[in-house]
């Protein structure tokens, strides 16, 4: 294998390694902050959480509506 090819493979290995490591660290960071912030908002009354679900359903409707529009666009 030529030196150039071997350098390319080195680049690929270190590149993919870094990309995965980076995004995994990002996952860890996201999950950590999600957990920490959840902790803090856990004291909210359950009625608030329910309301949240209702919003969730609205959200779903919106997503579907967007989807339909996109489909029509294409």
């Amino acid at each position: 294998m030529s030196a150039l090819l071997s350098q390319g493979i080195d680049l690929m290995l270190s590149g993919m390694f870094t990309v995965f490591l980076f995004l995994c660290l990002l996952i860890v960071s996201i999950n950590t902050f999600a957990y920490l912030l959840k902790e803090k908002t856990n004291h909210l009354p359950s009625s608030f959480v329910k309301k949240d679900n209702v919003i969730g359903n609205d959200h779903l409707k919106i997503i579907k509506a967007i989807g339909v529009r996109i489909q029509n666009e294409k």
Binding site: L5, L11, S14, G15, M16, V19, L25, I30, G67
Partner: protein, 428 residues
């Protein structure tokens, strides 16, 4: 002076065949942008810039010394070479070996002799040579991006990582072409070509401006064209690599993401990139800045201008500057053919990698993901996410994958910026 002299001095009589071909290429890009709506925000100014660049005589994309050589007036070349203490025959050798400082002096001398920099040359230097334009576009993209879907389901980041395999596989592909003597690529050129697989225009322009500015035109055209072609490129691959059962998988509804999480995300992303891969910090940093301006809710003026006036202004200059790299002698080369070929390979491999890793994740985890969203990991925001949604609906008309696909889609932007950082770190 008689009128025949005037007519014979018209530009058309000094046009070269390659220039004429490039005018047609420019018209083709305009056609794709206007009639086919191929990423018109970029391809319209790129196509227009390509035409301006290849207008004969005037050298709108040339530096003063390049204009002096292009206009090829014996007298002026002699003045220059005598100023430099050279023989005329030595000039081209001298220019090849010239350092940055020497070139800058030579350009000053050429200005003295009457050759101003072409306007597109100026645009290129200010917008791309300095690195500013792609960074400002990234800031605007950050200010327009809602990272919510990604924060709601962070494991889809894995898909955005996987799809970057298209980038590096293409690097190897380019080096193989070089190895077998088909088209010669240096490692830097191969890397810049590979970044097309990132399916992200500003990243591709940023990387190629650093690693291989001579290929920037072809790389940017390939990147934007294939991004526009994502609805044609991806579906066959998506169908080939998934089973009917997989394509109808419905995913768990995304949770609500709090504003605090959205504020913390760009900051933590900034810190991670700063502490891991500083070479990716300009690109990802500006993305984070734009996003923080948006999500912090305290600087709406800045967020608004970043995603409107500023990004629009920069886009015009970026497009024209890319067009300035479509000069006939630099674009009509075997490398361009190789880049166009490798670019589509990059998209295809990236798509496949995303899908296959999604399938692998389903093997390892009980919370199933629909592997179609893996294809969105290449980025090409938001086109690839829409494609995933559309293909999903073909098989399950109640299955809206759009929001789920936005996670890997945006992750793909981060992933390719990280890949870009690695390339710049090891090769620049």
């Amino acid at each position: 002076m008689n009128f025949l002299d005037i007519v014979s001095s018209f530009g058309i009589f000094s046009i070269t065949l390659p220039q004429a071909i490039m005018l047609i290429v420019g018209l083709l890009l305009l056609y794709l942008a206007i009639n086919k709506k191929f990423e018109p925000l970029l391809l319209l100014p790129i196509g227009f810039g390509a035409i301006l660049t290849n207008i004969p005589e005037i050298g709108l994309s040339l530096s003063p010394i390049e204009r002096l050589i292009y206009e090829n007036k014996t007298e002026d070349i002699q003045i220059l070479t005598s100023m430099l203490g050279l023989e005329v025959a030595q000039l081209s050798e001298y220019l090849k070996a010239a350092s940055y400082l020497e070139l800058s002096n030579i350009n000053s001398l050429s200005i003295d002799i009457g050759y101003k920099p072409g306007i597109l040359y100026t645009f290129y230097n200010v917008a791309i040579g300095s690195g500013v334009a792609p960074l400002l576009i990234f800031m605007g993209v950050g200010a327009m991006t809602d990272f919510g879907p990604l924060l709601a389901n962070p494991k889809t980041l894995i898909l955005g990582a996987a799809a970057q395999f298209g980038i590096f596989a293409t690097v190897i592909g380019a080096l193989l072409l070089d190895h077998y003597g088909v088209i010669s690529f240096t490692l830097k050129q191969a890397a810049a070509t590979g970044i097309i697989g990132g399916a992200d225009g500003p990243t591709a322009i940023y990387v190629s401006s650093i690693l291989a500015p001579e290929l920037l035109g072809a790389i940017a055209v390939a990147a934007y064209s294939y991004m526009a072609l994502v609805p044609l490129i991806q579906p066959p691959i998506m169908r080939a690599l998934t089973t009917d059962k997989e394509r109808v998988i419905e995913m768990v509804q995304l949770r609500e993401v709090s504003q605090k999480e959205k504020i913390i995300f760009p900051i933590s992303l900034l810190l991670i990139v700063g502490l891991l891969l500083p070479s990716a910090a300009p690109l990802l940093g500006m993305l984070c800045l734009g996003n923080l301006m948006k999500e912090s809710l305290v600087v709406e003026r800045l967020s608004e201008v970043a995603q409107n006036s500023l990004i629009n202004i920069v886009t015009i200059f970026l497009g024209l500057s890319v067009g300035s790299k479509l000069a006939a002698d630099k674009f009509l080369t075997p490398e361009t053919l190789g880049i166009l070929l490798l670019g589509i390979v990059a998209f295809a491999i990236g798509t496949a990698s995303g899908i296959l890793v999604a399938k692998l994740m389903n093997v390892l985890s009980k919370n199933k993901v629909n592997p179609l969203i893996g294809a969105a990991g290449v980025s090409a925001v938001p086109m690839a996410a829409r494609v995933a949604n559309k293909v999903g609906l073909e098989y399950n008309s109640q299955n809206y994958l759009l929001m789920h696909a936005m996670g890997p889609n945006i992750a793909g932007v981060i992933g390719s910026a990280v890949a870009a950082g690695v390339m710049i770190k090891f090769l620049a």
